[in-house]
Assembly symmetry: C2
Homo-oligomer: 175 residues x 2
DNA sequence: CGCTTGTTTCACAAATTTGTGAAGTCAACG
DNA sequence: CGTTGACTTCACAAATTTGTGAAACAAGCG
């Protein structure tokens, strides 16, 4: 049987999306699923990964809940859960068009910058945990020195990453 | 200062093994669990996270399967699964002492360097996936440009991280 | 050689996670 | 104001993951 994706032939045309977007060709779907698989393997929850990938591969970078459900063949509830997760970790923004009930979800223009900023919060938490560990085992013990080195490494990383992201940003801007 | 190592002390049999095993005070157990929780939250499987944390907090940086089970109150099977995972991702090394059946699991001396090297492999995979995505959506489309930028970012990161790790290593060595 | 002990494997039970249908909520439109 | 349609929440079913006991396996030791 033909594996064409179900295009809901509703009376309302999905507007807001550029004209070429109406299709969702299999190659794109393949890419979306492959990327989602990579992300999932890295510890990302499945549905958020799929939704994120789908948004990234969309023309305008933003889709409505209905469009997402249509492309990914998932229920509105699944979309809802996924977008809630994604906006909590600041990977997407929700935007409401004034005269419409349709909410649109958009990948942040500087996704990577955002993602890295999130990591920064995690890093700080780890630094705190490791620091408490140094005290717990005693700073003068071998374990204490080992854990203290971890604190140093993480601090190093946090600082360098901040610098790195700044560098990326300016490089981007001038291109 | 007879801070006894995790070394098997002799023919004595550990009876009534509990969390309060000497050489493993509650503060340390707390740290281990807290760190494991942080790692788990970051997508790390639970048992590997606990085992890794426990090794990191141990005096010698290496423990036997029995010792791990004792400290973490888990079955040999759970230890086995966790250490297999950890050695697959190159976070620990297994070492066999010549005259003993006891295998010891050791956190790599340069854990962080190792961890980052792993990330490098993941990065490459992502770069490959994103690259295929550019073709899938068409390089000239907005989506194509968005995904191409991701490829650039990931490549940037891969290169910079390599440089960064080298810098960390030399900084370490000279201290 | 076989016993003894530490480790791995296997099958299964428990717990957690995932995704769905259906009811509920809210706001734009007639 | 009531209707309508888009999104959310809730309770539950399915699927996956986790960890265990028990049996199998291997290697030192008597």
């Amino acid at each position: 049987m033909t594996q064409r994706n179900e295009q809901q032939p509703g009376p309302e045309q999905p507007q807001g999306e550029s004209a070429g977007e109406d299709g969702y060709p299999p190659e794109v779907a393949d890419f979306v699923e492959r990327l989602a698989a990579d992300l999932t393997e890295a510890g990302f929850p499945r549905m958020p990964a799929r939704v994120f990938s789908c948004l990234l591969a969309s023309e305008s970078g933003s889709l409505s809940s209905a469009e997402l459900g249509e492309r990914l063949l998932i229920s509105p509830a699944a979309v809802s859960g996924a977008v809630r997760y994604l906006s909590q970790v600041h990977l997407i923004a929700r935007e409401r068009q004034p005269g419409s009930r349709r909410e649109r979800y958009r990948v942040h223009a500087e996704v990577w910058y955002e993602a890295m900023t999130n990591r920064d919060a995690v890093l700080n938490r780890w630094i705190s945990t490791f620091s408490s560990g140094v005290e717990a085992v005693g700073p003068e013990s071998p374990a204490g020195r080992r854990i203290a080195e971890s604190v140093e490494f993480l601090t190093f990383m946090r600082n360098e990453m901040a610098a790195l992201m700044e560098r990326w940003r300016t490089t981007r801007r001038e291109s």
